[in-house]
């Protein structure tokens, strides 16, 4: 490790904690999903799951807003990676949604879980694209 420590610093602009916030957002929807799925087939009070989903969506919106304010960010690379990741995660989210529908899930739990999948399918590609784009050296540098 010591032999390579000299290389350990990476010059990059100050960036918002996108990865940390993204993981917190994912943790909230995972918690909501576990809460709902652990009560099947009993009636599930939806309020805790809705609160967790709302907080997760709020973190996603905050993350997008914070990142959009970063000047000189490698947006071309960001969107190049984000659009393909979005396609991949939309497919996996679609598969999970298909399993829910096959299990005749309906009503409030279906809506909450579907919206959770939307947050997942947007936030994960954003994290991937951010991780790649943050190390892109701007052309002017």
């Amino acid at each position: 490790m010591s032999a390579v420590s000299a290389h350990a610093t990476v010059d990059e602009p100050r960036l918002p904690p996108v990865t940390e916030i993204g993981m917190a957002s994912l943790a909230l929807i995972v918690a909501g999903g576990i809460y709902l799925s652990s009560h099947i087939p009993e009636h599930v009070p939806l309020t805790p799951a809705i609160i967790l989903l709302a907080l997760s969506a709020l973190l996603l919106a905050g993350n997008l807003a914070a990142l959009s304010r970063v000047q000189g960010f490698a947006w071309v690379r960001f969107f190049q990676i984000a659009r393909w990741s979005l396609l991949a995660y939309a497919i996996t989210a679609g598969l999970i949604e298909f399993a829910f529908l096959e299990d005749h899930l309906s009503g409030g739990p279906l809506v909450v879980l579907t919206l959770s999948l939307v947050v997942y399918a947007v936030h994960v590609p954003m994290l991937i694209a951010f991780t790649v784009a943050r190390y892109e050296v701007p052309a002017a540098a």
């Binding site: 350990a8 990476v10 994912l26 943790a27 999903g33 799925s37 298909f98 399993a99 994960v124």
Partner: protein
């Protein structure tokens, strides 16, 4: 894990000093396109199995997907990861550029298959129902899988893609690759350790 760093010294040498010469980008596909055909076939089989809702296809997909996921995580976290840190620099680069593109399509596929077939199987066998005597173990597996998913989706996979993109550049930065590889290997170690919990839960469930 302290020795687990991948710093291409060839790259470092090129990067040091004024006006480092750009080398031709390494020849590899970040996402192996031929592998996507296999992924598509596996997903079609998964969809058919869920729609048919028969015991054997669901059991087959859940056990094979879950076994592949567990074994790969354990092997990567505890066997290959430490070895990677002790390889010569060119060997590390070669291994990374050959291994990680495959991981990029294998891991999301086996995870999706294991989870989707597992959920359907749990429904069919009644394990996910709250009245089931095994329900506590099923909820425990949800929590373990949830933690692994957060680590994998938030840390491991972004690092996997970012290190490949960096290696593709004419002048990859060694410090970036070092940071990303550390993140990848530590995340793999965490998910590997959590797979031990998965093994305990799944063997307990299978034992009735």
């Amino acid at each position: 894990m302290s020795g687990v760093t991948v710093v291409p010294s060839e790259v470092a040498t090129h990067h040091e000093g004024a006006g480092p010469p750009a080398r031709p980008p390494l020849e590899f596909e970040i996402v192996p396109r031929k592998g996507l055909i296999v992924v598509a076939v596996v997903f079609v089989v998964l969809i058919v199995a869920i729609a048919a809702n028969k015991l054997w296809p669901l059991m087959f997909l859940h056990v094979t997907g879950g076994a592949a996921w567990t074994i790969i995580d354990l092997f990567l976290g505890f066997v290959l990861g430490p070895i990677l840190g002790r390889l010569s620099i060119p060997a590390r680069i070669e291994l990374v550029t050959k291994l990680m593109p495959k991981m990029l399509i294998i891991m999301p596929t086996v995870v999706t298959v294991a989870l989707a077939a597992g959920w359907q199987l749990g429904n069919k066998l009644g394990f996910v129902m709250s009245q089931s005597p095994n329900h506590g173990w099923v909820v425990a597996s949800f929590i373990v899988v949830g933690v692994m998913a957060i680590v994998a989706l938030g840390l491991l996979e972004p690092a996997n893609i970012a290190v490949l993109v960096e290696l593709k550049k004419p002048q990859p930065r060694p410090e970036v690759i070092e940071r990303l590889m550390k993140r990848f290997i530590y995340s793999a170690g965490i998910t590997g350790a959590m797979q031990v919990a998965t093994l305990v839960i799944m063997t307990r469930l299978a034992s009735g």
